[in-house]
Symmetry: C2
Subunit: 146 residues, 2 copies
């Protein structure tokens, strides 16, 4: 058996970009690796930009925004609206919901097929359900921090 010699075997970012019709530029590859290597993540543009800098990848904030939006259009990411001040991007594009820790601003996934919503009225005439989002807002209990 031969050893895989690619530098990042995990996420197959290059392949994903190709399939999405996006040129595999240095910036998109680097951001894609930060996003898709390892487990699911929820990031803001600013946070990903800082992470890239810290990793020694030179990429502008404008490109981070461009890339996050392009990845979202390509369904490699989805947006999560939980805070009217910042946009979160989610590498988990499967059907799921969220815990939102209002203190820290962090998100945790809730598997979409573990929960059920019953009694939803039907969508008004002339509309279709694009998505149902459940957000469980959490407050930290300082006591537990001891």
């Amino acid at each position: 058996m031969k050893t895989v010699t690619q530098d990042r075997p995990y996420s197959q970012t290059l392949t994903r970009l190709r399939e999405a019709g996006l040129r595999p530029t240095r910036q998109r590859l680097a951001l894609g690796r930060l996003l898709f290597d390892g487990g699911d993540r929820h990031v803001t543009a600013e946070a990903l930009h800082e992470e890239a800098q810290a990793a020694g990848v030179s990429v502008s904030l404008a490109t981070v925004y461009n890339t996050l939006h392009q990845f979202t259009e390509a369904h490699l990411l989805r947006e999560v609206v939980v805070d009217s001040a910042r946009t979160y991007f989610d590498t988990n594009v499967s059907d799921h919901h969220h815990f939102f820790l209002e203190n820290s601003g962090s998100l945790m996934d809730i598997d979409g097929n573990k929960i059920a919503i019953t009694g939803l009225p039907q969508a008004p005439d002339g509309t279709d359900v694009a998505r149902v989002d459940v957000i469980v807002r959490l407050q930290g209990t300082p006591r537990a921090a001891e």
Copy 2:
């Protein structure tokens, strides 16, 4: 029987403000009446400001923001997060959820005790559930507009 001679009997805005410990200023009374007379509403600061202008009430946008936040602290309003670009304030402070029409940016209430969510994992250690929000995102079907 005597006829009620108050100019706006509907919302008892004056009483509400007193109970909340807020001075019934001209601006707060006017905004309170716009918000609470008539049925439940979902407004943005900008929209309420324009509505006030149109009603001949002179109030600054800063005061609209101040007032919306004070009303929210006093639980006369609550915030609804559905769009990362603008904040909605909701005059319905009872337990309920929302349809969000992404095209028009409008919200419709879903009665909280008509729907049930089962299978929610318990909140992580050291946290408490502050609220559960269900947002049903709707896309208009242009066909129906004919």
